[in-house]
């Protein structure tokens, strides 16, 4: 196995998506593939590599329908006017999609089938909305037998396909309360706002000139959903987002977002040969399946698997990026794995920064690598829950 390092990471800011009011999404007039295509040339330029040297390009996206269908990953290559010799793949592991892209790239490089692989993630939740709107427009059509046939009822698909209901079910299996979740959400916004203020994210966000609904052009260079002024009282007043009487609210869930992310992985030898200082090395990957009605529990077994591979305890990990699809996911993971909460999502999490589904995996690993470099820890673990009942995790080690 070759040693695989992350040498570059870049993302767009995450705009706040509003499928029913697209004018308010800063990226409302851009497509996800256009966002991604902006990143690719810039990232290779910053790395000082020729796009011709890319042995593969793997794109993750959770709702790969409509305009997010990417011709097997080739469209972003074409839009970036990259050489046609770069092969591509398109990965859908729902919210784990771009982490799955990292995993595939890791395996390709580790197994010496590739030297340099670029991975990308994209999602535009205004232009290709989740759930009902995608279903109404005929872009997704789940097999109805799963919802109706007696032999499938045990899957409880009505819950399994509605992320808010799965989060509520997970909550019901823990001792956490609405207030715990709201407090975590508040922390997420405060930390993210602070990181924004301190310019931490400027090191990973490529400003994008985005056409706006009114015809103007805005430079989008910060995450749109971060609200430093959020208060616990404000969060407490929010109504249930998914079902009356439930505790999952818009405040303690991640918002809808549009964003793209990109990362370059290569063998240590290649990085050395090219004189590129890696951001981090990948030490282990983990993926696990769980009951789809509590998909938010997925990061726990996925992280355990990854930790086991390298013989680490959760407490050996210096920093965690746990995707806050819902605050309860992070809280549950912290409790189950016995993690110090202060080591988790130290620059804020998905509740504030955003969770543009298919783009998230790279955002988690990339931000984590930058946190390790900034704060000086050794190991970091990024994980995410995955709709349909899965978890994904990646353990990285800071380069010294």
């Amino acid at each position: 196995m070759k040693d695989v390092v992350i040498t570059g990471y870049l993302r767009t800011a995450q705009s706040r998506s509003r499928p029913k009011d697209p004018a308010r999404d800063w990226f409302g007039k851009m497509r996800a593939d256009e966002l991604l295509a902006k990143l690719l040339p810039e990232l290779v330029k910053r790395q000082g590599i020729d796009p011709k040297e890319l042995d593969d390009f793997i794109v993750g996206c959770a709702t790969a329908v409509g305009e997010q269908w990417a011709y097997g990953g080739r469209f972003p290559i074409f839009l970036a006017n990259f050489p046609d010799t770069i092969p591509a793949k398109f990965v859908d592991q729902q919210c784990g999609s771009s982490m799955a892209a990292i995993h595939m790239a890791y395996l390709e490089v580790a197994s010496d089938n590739a030297d340099i692989v670029m991975v990308g993630g994209m999602e535009h939740m205004t232009r290709v909305p989740m759930g009902g709107m995608t279903s109404d427009s005929g872009m997704i059509a789940p097999n109805m037998a799963l919802f109706a046939a007696p032999e499938y009822l045990h899957w409880d698909m009505m819950t399994s396909i509605n992320m808010g209901l799965t989060a509520q079910k997970l909550l019901s299996q823990t001792d956490f309360t609405r207030e715990d979740m709201d407090k975590w959400a508040l922390r997420s916004h405060q930390l993210a706002a602070k990181a924004q203020e301190e310019g931490f994210f400027d090191g990973e966000i490529l400003p994008i000139e985005a056409p706006q609904a009114d015809g103007s052009v805005t430079t989008v260079n910060k995450d749109q959903a971060v609200r430093g002024d959020t208060t616990l009282e404000g969060l407490a007043q929010l109504r249930s987002a998914f079902k009356e009487g439930h505790q999952i609210t818009a405040g303690n869930s991640s918002p809808l977002n549009a964003a793209a992310t990109a990362m370059i992985l290569m063998s240590r030898e290649k990085a050395k040969e090219k004189g590129i200082k890696p951001l981090a090395a990948i030490r282990a990957i983990g993926f696990a399946g769980v009951d789809p009605t509590i998909m938010g529990s997925g990061p726990v077994p996925a992280s355990r698997k990854a930790l086991d591979k390298v013989g680490l305890q959760a407490t050996d990990v210096d920093y965690w990026e746990i995707n806050e699809a819902f605050c309860i996911v992070a809280l549950n993971c912290i409790k189950q794995l016995g993690i110090d909460p202060e080591r988790v999502n130290v620059m804020g999490g998905g509740t504030a920064i955003g969770h543009a589904l298919g783009a998230t995996g790279i955002r988690l690993v990339g931000t984590l690598a930058r946190i390790l470099n900034k704060k000086g820890g050794r190991y970091g673990c990024a994980n995410a829950c995955v709709g349909g009942g899965q978890g994904v995790a990646t353990i990285i080690e800071r380069e010294t």
């Binding site: 499928p19 029913k20 009011d21 697209p22 256009e34 290709v128």
Partner: protein, 709 residues
């Protein structure tokens, strides 16, 4: 709810109000009808018992679009704009209304009809109905949100095509593109729509998700919109040169499709109004309206056309086989006669060939063709076999004697009421008919090649053609889907002589040192499909020469063949068929034919003429002045008297650019006094060919126009 409407029948089915629109003849969106429709829908919205509204029509149309006669009259944008906006506001009220409105599209939904359907929340279409935004065909753009709603439903590329080309799609295609939500058998249409209404009422379908303006997921990104619009503009520049509407439609789309649909619809209303008051729209609407009334002459008003069920076609050559195609396609029993079996076999093979295209395009099957031929077509070499027919069309050798012999025989064979029609392109029909005991039964039906494709049918009355014969043939023309233009017997009838007038000036200009290539380009820029030399090469320089010779012999000094025409004819280069005419076609690409170039050079040298630079405008003026004069002469001579029909004949018969409205419409726009002045100037330079007709002089003097003002 209110139920006493003149144009709308209200049928309450439980909680659903079914509004049946009935504004004969085609449910056109006339002002009164729209007001009643708005009132009926509002009334449904206000009635608490009514939970949903179904909108459907009677007859072959759901709504056939705006009343073009109303738009045709409007000259003032300031007058029009608020009305267009008010109409859009009505559609917005449907879309944003408190209750679901389901369009049950029973028949064609075109223009404003489709726009109303798109403002509804759900569309059920009857199988086979046509859905379209054909406004560009009459110089307009969709003016009630069509440019904004259609892309939201079917995506930008498909919407751009439908809006800029104007071709409708059928319900099935509409379903596959998601323009309609369901397709139903006509008898199940309203029940299907009522059932859909029920799903809205029960909450199974959310009204909010079905408001078209909120269907953002098919809207392009800014970059896509720019790229696709630019592509569409490029396409329009090559295919719609001279037109305004396709560009305005692209403009409405490119500047629209934002998240603020009200503003986009307002912009669309502005662009629509710009189009509506333009000359191009007036010309195109005029053509549309005149096409419907073509051939409806006062002299045949009230005459019942004789039924034509069985037709004999004499001669299965190029024209004959095309005409047989028309007869068969119209469902008529057809007898094809030719002189021997070999000619007949060739003829039938040619008829089959005319169906290659529809079979290739899957509009018809080989089995369908065979079955049609079996059922409808009989062939014979015996004239006696045509005795049962109602109409005989003759397209045999262009020889008076041969034709007259046949007609004489037929008069003894056919039933007395059968109509005799000749497809001659040059022989005097009055003379042809003179051998008949009943010359009143004879008429000219001048088809254009290829007969099954060209829309025009020149109907030529000989001196004794009866009104009954004419009425029957005008109706017959409509049966075979042709546009009948009625003229009187004269050399070249109308179209050939008018085309001679339009292109006849070129030889005078060339002989005066003007570059022939410039003339070709200018006439194409003007909008003609080809220039005079290119057309001559296609039809045959020798054929043109003989036609001109006939004009010279029968019409006199004015039509004397120009010496340069004579010299070019004498080269023996007759065009494409001899591989050389004005151009040399022997190589891969046509190049100027040296022989003809030399003849022209020699002519110029012999006559001491130097090459002369003229503006494009001067060429257009000279060519059009002569064309207008020719039209005036023909009116004067009684060849024809209806400007609208004359203009249609040139548009449908020769490809005269429709957006210019026709030669006489052009004359009116230019001003007859200006035309007259130009002709006087040209006459002094080139002689009698350009001498203004008396009619033109009178029209110019009186300040009148050819079209009624």
């Amino acid at each position: 709810m209110k139920t006493d409407f003149k144009t709308i029948k209200v049928d309450i089915q439980g909680a659903v109000a079914v509004l049946v629109m009935n504004n004969p003849p085609v449910n056109q969106l006339s002002e009164h009808f729209v007001l009643e429709l708005a009132e009926a829908i509002s009334s449904g919205f206000e009635d608490p018992q009514v939970k949903a509204v179904v909108l459907t029509g009677t007859g072959k149309n759901f709504i056939a679009g705006a009343d073009l006669t109303e738009i045709y009259k409007v000259k003032d944008k300031e007058y029009l704009l608020p009305r267009v906006k008010a109409n859009s506001a009505f559609l917005n009220r449907i879309e944003m209304g408190p209750k679901p409105v389901i369009a049950a599209i029973n028949g064609n939904a075109l223009g404003g009809g489709l726009e109303i359907a798109m403002a509804c929340h759900y569309r059920v279409a009857a199988k086979g109905v046509q859905l379209g935004q054909p406004e560009v065909m009459v110089g307009l753009i969709p003016g009630a949100g069509g440019t904004q709603r259609l892309p939201r439903l079917i995506g930008l590329p498909n919407a751009l095509e439908m809006i800029t080309v104007g071709r409708p799609i059928d319900a099935e295609k509409g379903y596959s593109r998601r323009l309609v939500d369901e397709v139903a058998d006509p008898e199940n249409l309203v029940p299907t729509a009522v059932a859909a209404a029920g799903r809205f009422i029960s909450g199974k379908i959310s009204l909010e998700s079905k408001r078209t303006r909120f269907r953002y997921n098919r809207l392009p990104s800014a970059a896509e919109l720019k790229a696709v619009s630019n592509g569409a503009k490029f396409m329009a520049m090559t295919k719609a040169k001279g037109y305004i509407a396709p560009f305005k439609a692209i403009d409405a789309i490119e500047k629209g499709l934002s998240f603020d649909m009200e503003a986009d619809i307002d912009r669309e209303a502005e662009l629509f109004s710009d189009c509506a008051v333009s000359d191009v729209a007036k010309n195109l609407i005029g053509i549309f309206l005149n096409t419907r009334s073509a051939g409806r002459l006062p002299r045949i008003e009230g005459i019942t056309p004789a039924p034509i069920k069985k037709v004999a076609m004499l001669g299965g050559g190029v024209m004959g086989s095309g005409i047989v195609n028309l007869l068969l396609s119209a469902g008529l029993d057809t007898v094809l006669w030719d002189i021997n079996q070999e000619a007949l076999n060739k003829g039938v093979a040619s008829v089959r060939k005319t169906y290659d295209y529809p079979i290739k395009k899957k509009k018809m099957t080989q089995e369908g063709l065979e079955s049609m031929l079996e059922k409808q077509l009989t062939t014979t070499t015996a004239l006696e076999d045509v005795r049962e027919v109602d109409l005989v069309i003759e397209a045999v050798l262009e020889n008076m004697q041969v034709k007259q012999d046949i007609w004489k025989q037929l008069e003894t064979i056919c039933k007395p009421e059968a109509v005799f029609a000749t497809n001659t392109s040059a022989l005097p029909i009055t003379e042809m008919a003179s051998v008949l005991k009943d010359p009143g039964r004879m008429i000219g039906l001048h088809f254009f090649n290829p007969a099954h494709r060209m829309q025009l049918l020149e109907v030529i009355c000989a001196q004794k053609t009866t009104d009954q014969t004419l009425a029957t043939c005008v109706a017959f023309a409509r049966t075979i889907k042709k546009i009948p233009i009625v003229v009187n017997d004269a050399p070249g009838f109308y179209v050939s002589r008018q085309l001679g007038g339009l292109f006849g000036g070129s030889v005078y200009l060339v002989a005066d040192g003007v570059d022939g290539n410039q003339i070709e380009r200018v006439m194409k820029d003007f909008g003609m499909p080809m220039g005079p030399a290119e057309l001559a090469d296609l039809t045959g320089i020798d054929i043109n020469y003989h036609v001109n010779r006939t004009f010279e012999q029968r019409l006199g000094e004015r039509y004397k063949i120009h010496p340069l025409t004579e010299a070019i004819y004498q080269t023996g280069c007759y065009g494409r068929k001899t591989k050389a005419g004005y151009m040399d076609y022997s190589g891969d690409r046509p190049i100027p034919n040296k022989k003809v170039v030399d003849v022209i050079q020699k002519y110029l040298k012999d006559n001491g003429v130097s090459p002369r630079k003229v503006s494009d405008e001067e060429i257009v003026d000279a060519m059009l002045a002569l064309a207008i004069n020719e039209a005036a002469l023909m009116i004067e001579e009684g060849v024809c008297d209806r400007p609208q029909d004359m203009d249609l004949a040139m548009i449908y018969g020769t490809g005269f650019p429709p957006y210019r409205g026709g030669i006489l419409r052009y004359a009116d726009k230019w001003g007859c006094a200006n035309v007259y002045k130009k002709l006087v100037e040209l006459e002094s330079r080139y002689g009698v060919r350009f001498k203004p007709s008396q009619l033109l002089k009178e029209t110019a003097d009186s300040g009148k126009t050819f079209y009624p003002q």
